[in-house]
Symmetry: C2
Subunit: 308 residues, 2 copies
């Protein structure tokens, strides 16, 4: 089996990118889409994010064989409840949220009797809204699928093939472990970035204009992810509270250790820690998850000197 009528609920960065990717890589499939914001629906129609933009969510799912919820984690339950009466019995329900335990629960509760297989494409940019999506967002990125036990294997296979068609590499994982892994690789980095940008913008002795001017010293990298969608990230932290707090605790311990090393002037401890972290970057580049050009290739130099 494969999906030919795909409903996308929520037409922001992720929903829009799925629509554009289906048009590009699965041209035989038809997409319907809905967004609760009329302005977003209008822009989605103008950009052709889906074949048909519908005026209600119920209308969007009415003939679907795959429904993907692309709304913030905290809005999943309500969005699902809105389509409960219109959803075909056979349709597979999935999503793209960053936390899987709470979303699986919310979708299951709102749509009893339906097959729900959550998924999370680990891809995104700092932009959000109907103008932010693009067809290649998922290429060479990982998509983590978290099927419940027991699961409908036929539908699971079709979902895996769907994401592979969009260019992603698929990994199967249980929802609890997903939430722990993403707490480290995504949620904690966002929390830290939001914090440091907040700290820097609220000092008495250093002006905001100085922070902006001298941001090339490292700070500007943090501002990119701290520009991500606030609603979505509020929901992520509320939905994955336990794993985030666990990882934050580890981070705080490690930061205290470095703070102590600075205070007592323990240069060896600092050097050892700072040497240790280079290997990880090398692996990330080797596995194609980041750009090897210095500075990510931004700026006007060609970076060739650094590679030889």
């Amino acid at each position: 089996m494969s999906f030919n009528r795909i409903a996308i609920i929520g037409l922001g960065l992720l929903g829009g990118s799925i629509g554009l990717a289906v048009r590009e890589y699965l041209p035989d499939s038809v997409t319907t889409g809905f967004d609760s914001d009329p302005q977003t629906r209008k822009r989605a129609a103008e950009r052709g994010l889906v074949t048909t933009v519908c005026e209600t969510a119920a209308e969007a799912v009415a003939n679907a064989d795959l429904v993907i919820f692309c709304v913030p984690p905290g809005a999943m339950g309500r969005a699902a409840a809105d389509v409960a009466d219109a959803l075909p019995a056979d349709a597979l329900v999935s999503d793209v949220g960053s936390c899987k335990v709470s979303i699986a629960e919310a979708l299951g509760k709102a749509l009893p009797g339906h097959t729900v297989i959550p998924a999370h494409p680990v891809a995104g940019t700092e932009n959000s809204g109907p103008d932010a999506g693009f067809a290649s967002l998922f290429r060479n990125r990982w998509c983590i699928v978290t099927p419940p036990e027991p699961t409908d294997l036929l539908k699971l296979t079709a979902l895996v093939e769907f994401w592979e068609a969009l260019g992603a590499n698929v990994e199967i994982m249980d929802a609890e472990h997903h939430d722990l892994v993403l707490a480290v690789t995504s949620h904690l980095p966002h929390l830290i970035a939001y914090t440091i940008v907040g700290t820097a913008s609220d000092l008495e002795d250093v002006t905001q204009s100085e922070v902006i001017k001298y941001s090339a010293g490292g700070f500007r990298d943090f501002t990119r992810i701290a520009a991500s969608d606030p609603t979505m990230w509020r929901d992520v932290f509320l939905s994955n509270k336990d794993a985030v707090l666990t990882m934050l605790q580890r981070f705080s311990e490690d930061l205290s250790a470095l703070q102590r090393a600075i205070r007592v002037g323990d240069g060896d401890a600092l050097f050892e820690q700072f040497s240790h972290t280079r290997a990880i970057r090398r692996s990330i580049i080797e596995e194609g998850q980041d750009d090897a050009r210095p500075d990510f290739g931004r700026g006007d130099h060609d970076g060739s000197a650094a590679g030889d």
Copy 2:
């Protein structure tokens, strides 16, 4: 007056970039260079980072009218002492270090009677060593000059013009304030990045391979600056201890507040903080200190959708 014979002590990312930039933008000037590592000297000669690579630091400075120390902050004093006997009385002594109070003190102590005007070009990449430099590193970046009181105004003007010729915008600041500003915009971000990359690589319940695979969720941005030169950064934290610890304290307080908001489920507090930080990013892009393309333009999409 202007500088025609420039000695560069230390031929890594910064020293090498100055040499290449002088060749490109000040073609009438001659550069001499020295590095304590014979391998670096060899590579510097192969790449033509300076007009002449010398076998001793004394030889490099013997005819210079400007000497720029481009070694890690902790090595400044020793590097300066090594040239004390050979340094022409009229030569201006400067540097490129990230902390100015301690370096000004070290250079002044090692070279009594000489004019020292420290400087700090706020530019760099995660790469280091003689292969990392490139001529355009300083273009459209800020260079902060921290003259002592009183200062030699003629030499100060010549130093400002030198950096402007290399493409930088120059700002004059006192050394103490510089150290506080950079503690926020550069030192703290590096410390945080080193910490989180260390935390993520040392978990029992999430493997290193998982961290690498799913790094596109935000983590990978931190690994870039955590790949910076460990020796230099060890010295920065030891040299700018007080300002770094002050900023770290503020950061920790702000992080505790967000941690509490997550624990008690205060979504409004999270949303407010996360909305607040977008404006800073916008200003950094407007002022040309970062790339407006989503994801810094890395990846294979053209990003055009996000701009309209």
